[in-house]
Amino acid sequence: MNSVFKYFADIVSGVRSLCAGMRVTGKYFLSPGEIVTEQYPENRATLKMEDRFKGEVIMTHDENNQHNCNGCGICELNCPNGAIEIITKKEADETGKLVRSIDKHVYHLSMCTFCELCIKSCPSNALEWGQNFEHAVFDRSKLTKVLNQPGSTIKKKEAKS
């Protein structure tokens, strides 16, 4: 008798807990306003990442195609993964003196772990985070980027007045 009673009591409690769960899911089924899913590839036009979003490392260029990087190599030293290579060149300035300047700032996105040490350590604030996050490519070599744009020059320091 006791086991029969327990059998039916189990069924009742099982149905009751099932209904409790179904009430939760049913509540959201009937209130489509609470849908949180973002339709990603369709919402590309309106998708805006946060200001601090770590997409990739970029070098800031102003409207005259000038950047701040003087090729000191501190970012290369601070990078834990060897994702940055600085290639410098020597050029004669107006007075004929040989001055070291940046030729290529090579950035291997495939090795980058987004630890932010290069950006934090840069003494001339040449680097910052870019917002682009769609990094999928078919060829690995496309992940190696040159950060300074072709033909760009270093920003001259303004004389302190």
Binding site: D10, S13, G14, S17, L18, A20, G21, R23, V24, T25, V36, E50, R52, F53, K54, N78, P80, T113, F114, C115, E116, L117, K120, W129
Partner: protein
């Protein structure tokens, strides 16, 4: 226990057979291979085989400066990335005897609790999924998304935010940080009853977890099982209470303890910890100084004085210890992590002996293992 010892205790019959669970089994949450000896459905022994995701983080640390080490620790227990960072930072700061600004300590504690919440939410989702309730996965991840949005706003990344640095933080937090946390606390308090109705009160879930994988406090201490898994057996091992770090000694919270020691007790510890974390977040946001530095003054190149340093923190899965041997250089001579998951994993054989193979999934789910932390 070595492989031979386990095999000697239980003599393998001719009828027994050995199957491999993993390394790609969905319920092992990573690349864990369990060598399971079965007699019919009954588990005779379980031998975990690890090392599939070994990256040599401890060795890599020996070639990195103390600032560079931080980003490697993220990748150990990726679900409590912030606590891993904090452990190394605390070890370096205590070795150098740097006084960290009060604001930084509060922000770190807030991030600890947020990260713990996010981790427990993901665990809740995945635990339900392991036991066949896929619904929980969507509900847990929906709420976790709110925390990740807070992370993304302040640190720019959602999971592996190397936000700590020895001496403080990388940046100041976003101006909306406190506001969004209070909004989240309010939101999540309303959602917790859903969690209760969906899984905690479910009869099928009770049958799958109650009395399954009972771990006595002696076993927990013998195997060094810490965190919510140990506290489910009544082992008071919360480092935040036992050896408070940061601002945890100034906060009012209780250590969640259950004495049953089964999978359901471990489940309840985590559910109660979520509520404790919400209370802590409210206290921390109220007490947090609104102005102040986000980092202490540190030298550009950090060199620890010669000696040995140990620091431990409570991650979402247990006690994480960081041991540094320094020879006075800018690189550590030896770096060693006492990861909570490693100890938690090896109790699996003791817990699942004599149970059904379906219970093994429930037990390994309730231990909340993260494999990259075990292999490092």
């Amino acid at each position: 226990m070595s492989k031979d010892v386990i095999k000697n205790i239980i003599v393998k019959d001719d009828e027994d057979y050995i199957i491999n669970m993993g390394p790609q089994h969905p319920s092992t949450h990573g690349v864990l291979r369990l060598e399971v000896c079965l007699n019919g459905e009954i588990v005779k022994y379980v031998i975990p085989h690890i090392g599939y995701i070994h990256r040599g983080i401890e060795k890599m640390c020996e070639a990195d400066t103390y600032k560079q080490i931080i980003h490697l620790t993220d990748r150990m227990d990726y679900l409590s990335a912030h606590m891993n960072n904090e452990a190394v930072c605390l070890a370096v700061e205590n070795a150098l005897q740097v006084e960290v600004p009060e604001r930084v300590q509060y922000i770190r504690a807030i991030l600890d609790e947020l990260n713990r919440l996010a981790s427990h939410q993901l665990w809740w989702s995945a635990f339900g999924m392991d036991l066949g309730a896929l619904t929980t996965f969507f509900y847990g991840l929906r709420d976790r998304e709110k925390i990740l949005a807070i992370f993304e706003e302040s640190f720019g990344s959602r999971l592996l935010h190397s936000f700590n640095t020895p001496g403080g933080l990388m940046h100041d937090v976003h101006p909306n940080f406190q506001k969004h946390i209070l909004e989240f606390v309010k939101y999540f308090r309303k959602k917790l009853p859903d969690y209760k109705n969906l899984l905690t009160d479910n009869v099928i879930f009770h049958n799958r977890t109650k009395g399954v994988g009972v771990m006595s406090p002696e076993t927990a201490i013998a195997f060094g099982v810490t965190g919510p898994s140990g506290r489910g057996s009544g082992f008071a091992c919360d480092v935040r209470k036992v050896a408070p770090y940061g601002v945890y000694d100034q906060l009012d919270f209780k250590q969640v303890l259950y004495s049953e020691g089964d999978s359901f007790a471990r489940y309840q510890v985590r559910m109660d910890e979520m509520e404790e974390s919400l209370n802590l977040l409210e206290q921390l946001v109220a007490k947090m100084p609104s102005e102040g530095d986000f980092t202490a003054k540190m030298k550009p190149i950090i060199k620890l004085p010669e000696g040995e340093y140990y620091e431990r923190v409570e991650t979402a899965r247990g006690e994480l210890g960081v041991f540094i041997v320094s020879k006075g250089e800018k690189y550590p001579y030896r770096m060693r992590f006492r990861s909570p998951n490693f100890s938690n994993l090896f109790v699996l054989n003791t817990l699942s002996k004599g149970l059904k193979i379906a219970d093994l999934v429930a037990i390994s789910g309730s231990l909340d293992l993260v494999l990259p932390d075990i292999d490092r």
